[in-house]
Symmetry: C3
Subunit: 215 residues, 3 copies
């Protein structure tokens, strides 16, 4: 039953990432159905694929048709109904944060399982969570939002850090996994609610205070 | 003899992809000889390398000097003679469509040979065909044309689908491979001739009908 | 002792790449601390990771915490002190050229050690040296400078070529490695000093002579 719950959460996250990724792509530039499906699926599966490439193992989700189906369905909905989903923005963000939290924790623990050190596992957990959106934005020809705005990588990093720390003390299990993912989810949601941002280099702070109307 | 024919077709496709990729890059932005050679070779070999990375195997074409030579030659011609090849646009498109068709079918069948399921094999065949051009466009800082304009991924997808379907029924062989590649080639050529496009999300149709002069 | 020297040079190059990469990113676009750290580390480690992916082996530097630490430290300094490092431009370029030279030679020799042919080894050495900066620029949404301006890939290519040639004649060792890296370093430095560029396709030469104020 526990495994079923994990699978459901994982597929939900994959679906939400594909939906959110497809909607982001549709709004950013003029692409066709190929672009929406491809970018939605890349958003959902790209992070895990990058993680597995660095672990030098077969991309697990790519080989499992259920992940392909969840990602494809999310992207297809973004294509077909994207023009009238503006009101659903908040539920989609919530689902996306579920995916972020879940991917960060499970990504980090997969790296731990492959024998990587704590720093590497935390980085790979974060990459699992944010890698897909980064590739999508690069393909859209724009600076990935994870590198510039809001709090997206930071909560994933903290979630992965908590999970890895728990495993270092032999405390990793369903309870600590949920706690780690929950902290990530909470920070992400608070960040959206209050418009939190990560610190910006001083050179840009100067430019912005010099000419506040810039950008 | 059959193997020789396959090799000749494969090297022809590689050459055409590099030539077309180099010409596209030269026309899009100001790059130097390093950029033309690199982007031409990436166009030709990128799709197969991505496929082999996902299959977690050594990139086959990269290890075979004949592919490197065919790709390098195509890119070098694009650098040296690109300024007077405008009249050769159609033959180059035809060769490029040969490469597209051939890569889609052989890419999908390589995935089948690695034991992947039909959906995965079709996706990997399509990635083999369009992946190189996608990376090239991303490096040029523009939305990959395969995601936005014309019919490029769709014929590759159909060609890969036909090859995988044939193999499911135990019918895959030189004849069905040529048929699958031929259907891909035909759709691609008809798409160029008649300016076919894949469906666009409704949100963009609205914007375009509202302000037809936009974009 | 020799091994220690190699390690010190390698870590110095990693640090310099991360510092230079982070500074380049900070100046190009408005990113936050996540972006500076991520892009600095990608600049430092991306080339080696791409090389190891193509060799179908585990990314070596990613598994070694000393490389992660050197890359992270360089990127962190770029974030914290980037606004007052303009005067340090030249020493940073020198360190970056050290990294370029060292990565080109060691990258090519790693490929030789994996049994690849000379052409493949030279290409992989060059990719090791320039791959990280290429990915960084792609994520910044701009044409990678290595494809368009100055001499960056060319000295790396020559350094890799010399190292591979030495190994073909059974002459590869600390002395020839330093000579190969030294030639790369010298060409890079001369290129900066005298503003050398690689040849540009004729189509762009025409455009520029027609309208010199363009671009």
């Amino acid at each position: 039953m526990e495994t079923t719950l994990l699978l459901v959460l994982d597929l939900t996250g994959t679906f939400a990432f594909a939906l959110n990724g497809g909607l982001t792509a549709v709004r950013a530039v003029r692409i066709d159905i190929v672009g929406v499906i491809a970018l939605g699926m890349i958003t959902a599966m790209g992070g895990g694929i990058i993680r597995d490439l660095i672990l030098n193992t077969e991309p697990a989700t790519f080989h499992d048709w259920r992940y392909l189906a969840a990602a494809g369905l999310g992207a297809l909905i973004a294509f077909a109904f994207g023009h009238r989903m503006d009101r659903l923005w908040m539920p989609i963000e919530v689902l996306d944060a579920v995916g972020l939290s879940f991917f960060a924790v499970t990504g980090a623990m997969k790296a731990v399982g492959f024998g990587l050190g704590p720093a590497q596992a935390i980085i790979l957990g974060t990459i699992t969570a944010v890698g897909g959106g980064t590739v999508r934005d690069a393909l859209l020809g724009r600076v990935p939002s994870v590198l510039s705005d809001g709090l997206y990588a930071v909560p994933a990093f903290i979630g992965a850090l908590l999970a890895v720390a728990a495993s270092l003390f032999g405390l990793y299990g369903p309870v600590t996994a949920v706690i780690a993912a929950g902290v990530c989810f909470l920070i992400r949601m608070l960040g959206i609610r209050f418009g939190w941002n990560a610190p910006v280099p001083r050179v840009w702070k100067h430019r912005e205070s010099d000419s506040p109307s810039e950008e």
